[in-house]
Every structure is written in C-alpha cells, then in structure tokens.
Symmetry: C2
Subunit: 193 residues, 2 copies
Amino acid sequence: MPRWEHGSEERLKQAAMDLFSEQGFEDTSVVQIAERSGVTTRTFFRYFSDKREVLFADSDTLRSELVRAVAEAPDVVDPLQVVVGVLSTFDWEGRGRDIQRRRYAVIAANPELMERELIKNARMADEFAEALRARGVDARLARLAARVGREIFLLAYEEWLVGGSADLAVIAKDMTALLWSMQSPETTTPPSR
Amino acid sequence: MPRWEHGSEERLKQAAMDLFSEQGFEDTSVVQIAERSGVTTRTFFRYFSDKREVLFADSDTLRSELVRAVAEAPDVVDPLQVVVGVLSTFDWEGRGRDIQRRRYAVIAANPELMERELIKNARMADEFAEALRARGVDARLARLAARVGREIFLLAYEEWLVGGSADLAVIAKDMTALLWSMQSPETTTPPSR
DNA sequence: GTCTATAGTCCGATAGAC
DNA sequence: GTCTATCGGACTATAGAC
C-alpha cells in the first residue's frame, strides 16, 4: 500500500464536488480535479470510469445496501410498502441533509449529471424488482411495485431535501396515501387479500 | 430553406440507426455516420447536439404532441387516468412496431443511450405535471400522477413491444388495475369522489 | 506514465436560394 | 445584397490503449 498516495480517492471526490459547486460541472476539467488532488488524470480514471462517476461513487454501495434490505424484508405481501418503506426509513438524516442538498443542486444544474442519476435510480429499481421476484412476488407485480415505489420515494425525498424538518418516512406515507386517493371507482378491482 | 441535398438530416438518422444496429453504438464513430451520409462531421453536429441525439430527434416533437394532448384533455378529475390514457391511446402501431423494437434494442444495449432515453422520459413527465397543474390540478398530485402514470405506461409499452398482438391500451388498463390491487387496507384513505 | 482516437467547439469561408 | 446550409480545419478534453 503506497502510503503517500493514500486517500487519493477521497481527495478526488472532495475536489470534484468543490470545483463543480464553484464553477460548474462543464467548466471543470478532469485535469483541474487531478491537479488539486495532487495526482495525474490517469489516476482519476483509475478510480472513476468517467468524469461524472466521481459524484456517484457512493451510490453503488448504497444501492446494494438497500437492495439487501428489500431482500431481507420480514414479509413481501405488500411489495409497494416494502419498497417505499426500505427507501424512506433509511437513515438519510445520518448522511447529512446539507451535503445531500449540495450534491443534488450540482446534479440538478447539469443534464449530463442528471442522466447519470436517473440511470442509477433505474438500476436500483431493477434490482429491487429482482429481489422481490426472488422472494416469490409475481414478476409483473414486482416490477410495478419497484418502479412506482421509487417514484413515490423520489418525490418524497425531494420534498424532504428542500423542506425544513419534516420526517421523510412521514412524507412518503403521505405521498402513498395521495396515490390511493387517485383511485377512480370505475377502474377499481377488489383488493386481493 | 430547401437545398439540393436537403435530405442530410434524414440520411444521417438512417445511417446512424443502421450502423448502430450493425456494429454497435460505441464502435460507430460520427465520422463513419457522416461519411455514409455524404457530409462532414461538422454537418452532423449542426443537426444533432451530440452523437446520441441522432436517435432521439423525433422524440422531442412526439413529446410536445403528447403534452398538448394532456393539456387539452376533456377533464382532469382523474389525472392519473389522463396521463396513462394519453400515452397508451397514442397511435404507436402507426409508427411501426418493428421500427420501435429495433430502436429500443439499440438503446437497451447501450447504457449511454439508455441514459438519454431516461432523461427524455423524465422531461416528458415534468411537462405532463406542469400541463396538469395549469389545468388546476394540485401541484403535488400533478407530479405524482405524471410520474406514476409514466411508469405504468412504460411497463405496458415494454410488454407491448415484445409481445404479439395485444392492444397497448388494454395492457395499460390492466397494469393500472394491478397497481390498485396493491392497495393495503391500513394505508387506505377514502376515495375523494 | 505516455500516446492516441474520438467527441464536440469555434471561426471563417463558400455557395445556392430568395 | 441577405439568409441558410455546408464545408475545412484547427483546437481542447475525455477516455481508453499501449
């Protein structure tokens, strides 16, 4: 382990976040990020597959954590509830709301970064669906629950981010109730349990 | 406006689709596409902001068409129904299922193209939500209906694409019913009408 | 760690349509 | 003449190859 190079990844992530915040994503080059971190661009691309990925490195480990939570849910009789529950009861507060607000602001300000955010979310939903299916949920139902649950959570998360001190789980529950309030009589089918 | 070789844009789109299909997106360069179309790369970038966009040029006009349909819906008392209805009753058959299948195969085979597809869908949902809001729907409800409606449609669309001769509107209705079947008793709120 | 291909931008020039 | 579409080439940065 080369001790003098230790921490490169963290320094790169920090430098990228700072530079993107200060001068925007487009106007920041990988060379700049590398220079500020005391490494070469080659080192940057050793850690991150592309320039955008430096902002999403953590999201991969986070995703597997969340997928595991779905896979280990006590029961899956209500798959939508499982998805929304796992996502909204995760300890987002513990990761710092300000940091997440800042990160989201950078991402929202740049379409290329938003594209990456969206595909990460899509992959997470796909893995949620697969985890539910592995637990015996019908494939079609699993996909639907994963996708709709993700949307409910994302809307709740956005409100939580910009909002004051509201609890994310509460917002998510509220959002779910709002969805059910849209059920029109003519398209109603009797609950299956 | 029209000139001798005014079909440049169409030729570029066709050449790109063919080449991406034959040898993959990554292994096709803009130079190749331009050469096959008898123009230079400069001309390619005059029509398309980047290499991916050549596959999505039509989707922009399509989006505004669909957004207009939402804005002009007879009524918006059931916003989810409006979104799913507008999307699923559009004449997708008329655009050729084979062409759409081929296009989707190319997109699904490449993450970069999927990223673009996702952000286009996200923008469409945003505009749907705004159109609903303009019609008097509560902002929160409008966003929720737009996003959930989009997911219901996309799942139905994917089934329609791979499937035989099933009607898209029917699949979408079925998918909506499946969503309502997930409503759990404890989170139920009384229907508002 | 160096070298190179490709994406994408910029400026200026050209030529047909009107 | 203007307007619009095309072309030429030089240029930077990303990203991958060697």
